[in-house]
């Protein structure tokens, strides 16, 4: 699974944008339009084609869910033993399993749909870092919830999704194992958090420093 590139090269240009452009436009306005559309510093730099609607929807859904569930996790662990904490732990677990399911869906979609190309001007080292970051994030989309699920089972609290669907325990109930799994879940979650920060920082750098239109692949309205 990790051997498959998440950022395959491919077609560069969405030809329909040019075709739909006002035929009356002179060369100057054409260049301005192109520059505005791509958000590019250089007027002739081509804008990247966008991800599919499904990929975009899944990406933002996962992004919001992961950031919310991570923040919620940080908040709830310091709560004293109370009805509120039990509720929040359960919500966190439900959200985590939902992220696990969503990630399985995303991975299946991703394996069947190549992403749009990276900007041609992007240096090789940045491509490598980008590929590595995406591979690691996908790995953690699975590892973080799975570690949380295992921790919960080991601690003697099997996960019942949304309070109705009992999920199987795939580790034994064992207090010692639970103590081992707790920092694993936390460490993996922090690692994913760090990668998300890097991911967002890189996207913002492409948008506001490089101005290469990379972000419009995931936010198509930026190129309109």
């Amino acid at each position: 699974m990790l051997g498959i590139s998440l950022c395959a090269p491919g077609a560069f240009r969405d030809a329909s944008k040019m075709a739909g452009m006002n035929r009356q436009a002179d060369a100057f306005t054409f260049i301005l339009h192109a520059a505005r559309a791509s958000g590019a510093r250089h007027p002739f730099m081509s804008p990247s084609a966008a991800y599919s609607r499904t990929a975009i929807a899944l990406h933002w859904l996962a992004g919001v869910a992961i950031i919310a569930t991570f923040s919620f996790g940080l908040y709830m662990v310091d709560l004293p033993f109370s009805p509120a904490r039990i509720r929040q732990y359960n919500w966190h677990k439900w959200a985590g399993i939902a992220i696990l399911a969503l990630s399985a869906l995303r991975l299946l979609w991703r394996l069947r749909h190549a992403p749009p190309p990276l900007p041609s001007a992007m240096p090789a080292w940045q491509r490598r870092v980008s590929h590595a970051t995406h591979h690691l994030m996908y790995l953690l989309f699975f590892a973080v919830p799975l570690a949380g699920w295992a921790y919960s089972s080991a601690a003697g609290f099997p996960v019942v999704w949304f309070g109705v669907l009992p999920l199987p325990d795939w580790v034994p109930r064992d207090a010692g194992l639970a103590e081992l799994l707790k920092p694993v879940h936390r460490g993996l979650a922090y690692a994913l958090g760090a990668l998300v920060v890097l991911h967002v920082a890189a996207a913002l750098k492409h948008q506001f420093v490089d101005r290469d239109g990379l972000l419009s692949r995931m936010l198509p309205f930026l190129s309109r």
Binding site: F81, S82, P83, I86, A155, G163, P166
Partner: protein, 184 residues
């Protein structure tokens, strides 16, 4: 000597009434509570029983059972600390739960129905406990389970009384090994 005999005579019925002996190492008292649908299992390590029971004469049976609530284990260490608190078992004030049998009915096939009174946290309530007896060698094992409502006994009151969080129903399960039970 006469005095001794009188004392002895007074003790006799008590001795005769408690013919059976509980084998704690082979016995278990457990329960399952549900938190937002999640089954949370618990058990008690210390309990005792006085049993006078002849399967052929269930109507004369007398069973007294007590549980040391402080010996509870449930969920994780934090949950154990929590359930000992006043809102739950209040083990400092009410260290023991007890059951005293009333009428015992034979249902056939080694199955019995024991009506009685369950007392927890200063609240006494009637309960009916089904038990299935299996005899193997010199020992008899009685197993069964019944459901109680935790709020009937003020277990988890105040903040914890919301049954959508911690269900009102608690399933109590037992497996009691007894020595000296007459044949079924």
């Amino acid at each position: 000597m006469r005095r001794f005999l009188i004392v002895f005579a007074c003790l006799l019925p008590a001795v005769a009434a408690a013919q059976q002996k509980l084998l704690p190492a082979q016995s278990e008292v457990a329960f399952t509570s549900r938190q937002m649908g999640v089954p949370v299992d618990g058990r008690f390590a210390k309990f005792d029983a006085q049993v006078a029971f002849d399967p052929k004469k269930p109507e004369s049976a007398k069973i007294a059972f007590s549980i040391d609530l402080d010996s509870v284990s449930v969920g994780d260490a934090e949950t154990v600390r929590e359930v000992r608190k006043p809102g739950w078992f209040d083990t400092a004030k009410f260290p023991k739960a007890s059951f005293q049998s009333g009428a015992v009915k034979a249902l056939g096939g080694g199955r019995f129905e024991i009506a009685g009174t369950l007392s927890i946290k200063g609240v006494a309530r009637p309960v009916t406990v089904p038990a299935t007896l299996v005899q193997q060698g010199p020992n008899t094992t009685a197993t069964g389970s019944f459901t109680i409502k935790r709020l009937d006994f003020r277990i988890g009151d105040g903040d914890w009384s919301d049954v959508s969080l911690v269900a009102n129903d608690v399933v109590v399960k037992f497996r009691l090994a007894l020595a000296g039970v007459p044949p079924l």
